[in-house]
């Protein structure tokens, strides 16, 4: 089974990574994970499996006690989070990441910090965000914290995409979002690979995550229980059963 997409060099990797909180509580235990270009890589698993921790470790917000993080095959373990933007990698974290008292536009401008002196590029980024989410343009002068939950999510997505990243990491993009809006957000995420954006999606919403993902990782207790391309999951009854047991969702054959 050769697939040029899966055989391409991973854009981001965790290599045998262990992460611990407070010195000894291990959240990740020797987790390896590869993000293939042009795909949506879904990370699922029960609560406490270490999904968000894996994502935060990929982005340098947590430092592994063992193992390495790699970008384009190059080891970047210990690289601080603010260097990832320059490598074309954006993160939309699970907890709210807006600056509530700053205006919508200032939130977008701060995302352009790394090229803030390039006025044309900053304006281009703002225009892209406004074109993608017109509500942001309408509310550009308002404090970000005054918008509804859904609009705030759009701003976080717009802010990340305005940078034209080649990889975007999404942690629970529809947590606390109304169902109808959630569906809209997943449709939107599903279109990103067509725009040349690689996606890493960590989600509790297993149904949607499995539906739009190309490659799945199922984590359990900080380890990779099983992973594979989605068609492998669909074709293998054992894997389908496993997924169904673990995350209560059946992949259609």
């Amino acid at each position: 089974m050769t697939n040029p997409a899966t055989d391409a060099r991973p854009v981001m990797e965790l290599r045998n990574v262990s992460v611990a909180y407070h010195g000894d509580i291990r959240i990740l235990q020797g987790l390896s994970l590869a993000v293939r270009p042009g795909q949506i890589t879904g990370i699922i698993g029960p609560n406490g499996a270490g999904k968000s921790t894996a994502l935060r470790t990929l982005y340098g917000l947590l430092k592994p006690i063992e193992g390495d993080v790699a970008v384009d095959g190059e080891v970047v373990t210990g690289m601080p989070p603010w260097r990832f933007i320059a490598k074309g990698i954006a993160l939309v974290p699970q907890n709210r990441s807006l600056f509530n008292d700053l205006s919508v536009e200032d939130n977008l401008r701060l995302a352009c910090w790394s090229f803030r002196r390039d006025k044309a590029r900053v304006n281009g980024a703002l225009e892209r965000a406004y074109a993608q989410f017109p509500i942001l343009h309408e509310r550009r002068k308002q404090p970000a914290g005054k918008m509804s939950g859904g609009q705030q999510r759009f701003l976080e997505l717009g802010r990340a995409l305005a940078l034209q990243p080649r990889v975007i990491l999404l942690d629970e993009p529809t947590a606390m979002i109304a169902p109808r809006l959630s569906a809209e957000i997943y449709e939107f995420i599903a279109t990103l690979p067509k725009q040349g954006i690689t996606v890493v999606l960590v989600d509790q919403n297993v149904r949607q995550c499995v539906r739009i993902s190309d490659h799945l990782y199922v984590l359990e207790l900080g380890q990779n229980k099983v992973d594979g391309a989605k068609q492998d999951f669909a074709q293998d009854e054992q894997l389908r059963t496993l997924i169904a047991e673990w995350v209560d969702y059946r992949i259609d054959a």
């Binding site: 603010w82 260097r83 509530n100 401008r109």
Partner: protein, 293 residues
């Protein structure tokens, strides 16, 4: 009585301006770094001693000492950041360690100033001409009026920086959400060093103003100002620079008016009553912002 009240208000504004600057710099530093700088009072008094030395040794008047204090203390803060703060990151409990470290720094700096200047109280023997000015029905020392003017300029300047420029907004953003600002590609180490330097620079300026406004200072005056700074920071809402400005003026007015209406000994209690009252009623202070943790 009416004149006393007016004097109280004028003095309250002048003294409150000094408190406001101390509070604003402390709250910026706390907001961005999450470090409570117990040594902030010593940096302020360091500014007073710098003005003292500049005048007594080099004949440089206090107004000319202001930019010197601002620049040298900014540099001092920048160096101090890299000497002190990165060490905290190696601890399992950086916040508790920061208390110990900054308290230790406070003692060390006070001792250092004691060695240099001995324990006597100092004042700058410089007088403006005219020596006092008529403000409404009352006379106020020119030095104090000048200090109020400087306070207004500094407060307006720092506020404009924080609210109108992108680096200033980045500082405020770091106060609002320290993790998110890193995701935006902002180097939090550089930003923190800048915040520490800015806060220390403001402390240096405030020190010169302390020398103009208050009768005397000595190596051990630091904690008096630091404590007032902490009260102002809490009143204004942790990490809220505008709240700290307003709270500083409010505290100054309360303190000065209390001396008009209450016995001297009681007046000193007013500040602490304000602090305790605020913590009991609204533990996030009266500012609109809350520091997210």
């Amino acid at each position: 009585m009416e004149t006393l009240v007016i004097i109280g208000i004028v003095n309250g504004l002048i003294v409150g301006g000094v408190y406001a600057l101390i509070g604003m710099s402390l709250t910026l530093l706390y907001g961005v770094l999450r470090v409570v700088n117990f040594a902030h009072g010593e940096f302020v008094i360091g500014g007073s001693f710098l003005a003292y030395v500049l005048f007594n040794t080099f004949g440089i008047p206090p107004l000319a000492a202001l930019p010197i204090a601002a620049i040298s203390f900014f540099g001092l803060g920048y160096v101090a950041y890299f000497l002190l703060i990165p060490r905290l990151a190696r601890s399992d409990d950086p916040e508790s360690m920061s208390f110990l470290m900054m308290y230790g720094l406070s003692i060390a700096l006070a001792a250092f100033m004691l060695v240099l200047f001995e324990a006597d109280s100092r004042s700058i023997d410089y007088s403006f001409t005219p020596i006092s000015m008529k403000v409404g029905p009352v006379y106020v020392a020119t030095a104090r009026v000048v200090a109020l003017g400087v306070t207004l300029v500094v407060a307006a300047g720092v506020s404009a920086f924080l609210f109108l420029t992108l680096p200033g907004k980045a500082l405020r953003a770091a106060i609002m959400n320290r993790e998110a600002i890193q995701i935006m590609g902002v180097d939090i180490v550089k930003l923190s060093a800048f915040a520490f330097a800015l806060a220390t620079g403001i402390a240096g300026i405030t020190g010169v103003l302390v020398a103009l406004v208050f009768p005397a200072f000595n190596a051990f005056s630091g904690p008096e100002y630091a404590i007032i700074g902490f009260i102002v920071v809490v009143l204004g809402g942790l990490g809220n620079p505008l709240g700290a400005l307003a709270a500083g003026v409010f505290y100054g007015l309360a303190e000065q008016l209390a001396t008009v209406f209450l016995p001297q000994a009681m007046a000193q209690i007013v500040g602490f009553a304000l602090l305790v009252g605020t913590i009991l009623v609204r533990n996030a202070g009266f500012g609109r912002w809350r520091v997210s943790r």
